[in-house]
Symmetry: C2
Subunit: 262 residues, 2 copies
Amino acid sequence: MQDGNAAAVSADEKISGSREKGLNRVLEILEFLHTTQRAIGIGDLAKGVNAPRSTTYTLVRSLVDAGLLEMAGDGNRVYFGKKLYLYGMDYVRGNDLLRRGRQEVDNLSRETGETSELCMLQSGRYTIVHSSPGTRPFRISSATGLQIPLPWTASGRLLLAGFQQAQIEDMVSEDDLVLPDGRRLLLGDFIADIAKAEATGYCVTSGLVDAYTKCLAAPVFSGPGRVEATMCLVVPIDTSEERTGSLIGLLRDRAARLSIAG
Amino acid sequence: MQDGNAAAVSADEKISGSREKGLNRVLEILEFLHTTQRAIGIGDLAKGVNAPRSTTYTLVRSLVDAGLLEMAGDGNRVYFGKKLYLYGMDYVRGNDLLRRGRQEVDNLSRETGETSELCMLQSGRYTIVHSSPGTRPFRISSATGLQIPLPWTASGRLLLAGFQQAQIEDMVSEDDLVLPDGRRLLLGDFIADIAKAEATGYCVTSGLVDAYTKCLAAPVFSGPGRVEATMCLVVPIDTSEERTGSLIGLLRDRAARLSIAG
DNA sequence: AGCGATTGTCTCTTACAAGAGACGTATGTA
DNA sequence: TACATACGTCTCTTGTAAGAGACAATCGCT
């Protein structure tokens, strides 16, 4: 395992061994920390992003000085720093949709008791931008920032509305079509689902990510036909059809409220 | 090394002729966006960070591809992107103090009706990490992430407890000692204030940043003697001594609750 | 239309950062 | 005590990214 491919970025497969741009290394470092979700030693970090140790030390020092990373308590581990938090808050402040969306999601999960999420496309990937756990005894929720293959989710079907078929194929890898339990979706079916979701204005999937839940999603528009985000509810798979229907109604209402009138 | 400093410093010198490391340029770009607090054209961005246009285009493209920046709606302006928000949330998740501190600040401002803030040192600068506006008709609050000279604030006096005099002198520039209204503080007085604040376990300043408010602050400890943050209340300068006293009591109690037992 | 300013892309050069690797130190463990 | 593995810093070389600048395409203003 020497090339390891690293970045989710880049269309061109440049075999490594060649020198990497410092900035790219930094982006990989950040992404790596995002996946580990915990402080990590610099040596391990270097291994993790497959970068030379000396380079990693240099970059980490820059980032720590800049406040994007911080040394963790014990002194030789690093994780995200305050600066990133501040920049993130700036993003929230400049983004009405996100700010209001977080609010709506929190309301929704409080009112219904179900886990609720705000989802967006993030450089071609499905991303849970905010989630609120609901009140059920067992935790259904998944962490904020988690990235999941688009075909596994109801939201994914809504978020891809309006994309060309070719674009969709670009965003969906072969692996993405294989569910956690091993079942395999057909790309054609997925694309048909997208069209159907766009037409009906909502989407429900059952037992895709796991066997115990279904996912209800409704689109949030940033303009005519432009799906900017989705709100979704994750409920037990045996939720009655009646309750499911009323939840969908509520969900669509709230999602519409979030949408830009345009 | 030509200009060094970089960091918060703005469009100062065009010394150079020398090439800048890409990563540094990126850090400056992020910092610049943080100060402007709004989307900005790439050309203006290049001017703002005093970088060549071609370089700026390249870097911005990388950052947009990575999701750290996003093109704003109209298409030729950039601002912070979702990735930074996600990283910021990761930071919050990994940081008990911040998470609980935000909560306490929100509680405090709701209970007292006053503007309340959580403050920390951020690479040698005083930073408002979270603030909650309070319920007074006039807004006292200042934005999250704002950076203010240490000597202007009550929190600054607490945050510097335990630092060597030399270190303090390093962190405080001449300009920092000049208040917004032109008055000039003496470094010696400031250092004495720090010692006093450390001894009494809280700090009050009146009419420093503006003539209408006073600032009450209490330290949050991350270990014995280690001030990690402060909570503070910003109240009208004519608040009665009695109420001030009771607010300080409340504040110290909450700050202590936040502190690590250590 | 005419003119200046701005935008986004591209090419080419060379200053300099990425990387290999050696070094001294601090661990842990047989 | 030796031995192995990790850490943090340093030096030197060379591949390459930062930057200057040319270019066409828009925009905005008389």
